[in-house]
Amino acid sequence: MINDFLYMNGYGSYVWSSFAFTFFSFSVLYIIIKIQYIKERNKFISKFGALNSEKAQVARNQNINKEILSRSQSI
C-alpha cells in the first residue's frame, strides 16, 4: 500500500519532486528572510547599546524602537 502511494502509477517521481521542490523553496526563502531579520535586529541592538544616555533616551521615546528591543527573541 505504501509502495502504491509512493509509486503513484509511475508518476510518483514527478509528483514527489514537485512537492519536494516547493517545500525546499519555502524553506530556503524562510531561512534567508529570517537571517536578514536577525542580522538587522542585532545591528539595531548593538547600535542602540553604543548610544550615550542622552541619545538613548531620545531613541527610547519612539514606540517602534521600544518594540524592536522588546522583540529580541521572536519575530
Partner: protein
Amino acid sequence: MFKFLNPSRIYLITSKAPKYIMPLFIVVFSIGLVEALILSPEDYKQSHSVRIMYVHVPAAWITLGIFSSITILSLSGYIFKNKNFFIIAKSLAPSGLVFNIIALVTGSIWGKPTWGTWWAWDARITSMLILVLFYLMFLLAWRIYEDKEEVFKITTIITIFGIINVPIIKYSVDWWNTLHQPASINILSKSSIHSSMLLPLIIMTAAFALFSLLIFLMKYNTELIKIKNKGLDRL
C-alpha cells in the same frame, strides 16, 4: 492622508502577527497536503500526475497577484508620494519571485509526463519566464540604486512594463494555440473542475497565501528595522 500607514504604528501589528500566521500556515498546509496527496482522486486521463496541479496552480495565481499588487503599490507610492507603499512593494517581491519559480519548475515537471517534454517555448510558459525577469529586475534595482528617489522611479517603471505581461499570461491560452490547457476555474462562469479537486486546490491556495503573508511580514519588519538603524546613525 495615509496617517494609518505610519510605519511606527504598523510595526506594532506586523511584529506580533508572524507568531500567529506561522502555526495557522502549518495547519492549513498540512490539511492541504493530506487532501492533495491522499484524499483527492486521480484524473481519468492524467492519473496521479494531476496532483502537481495543487502546487503549480496556487503558485501561479499568487505570483500574478503579488506582481499586480506591487504595481498598484508602486504607482500609489509615486502618485501620493508615500514611501511606505514602496517598502510594502519591496517586501512582497521575494515571495512573488519564489512562487513564480515554483510555478515554472513544477509546470516543467508536469509537462514531461503530460506533453512529453520538460520545456516548450509556448506562450503561457514563455510569458511566465518573462515575469521572473521582471521580478529580478525589480529586486536588483533595489540593490543597485542607492538614491531612494531614483529607485522609486525605476521600480515603478519596471512594474508598469511588467504589468503589461500579466494579461498576456492570463489570456495567452485563449489568444494562441498553446500546449498549456485553458483555465479550468472561472470566477464569472461555471468551472470545469470537480469539487473533489477544487477543495484541495482552494486549501493549498490558502496555505500558499498564508506563507506569502508570513514572508511579507518578516521582510517588512526587516525593512522597518533597517530604516530605524539609519535613524540611530542620524541621532
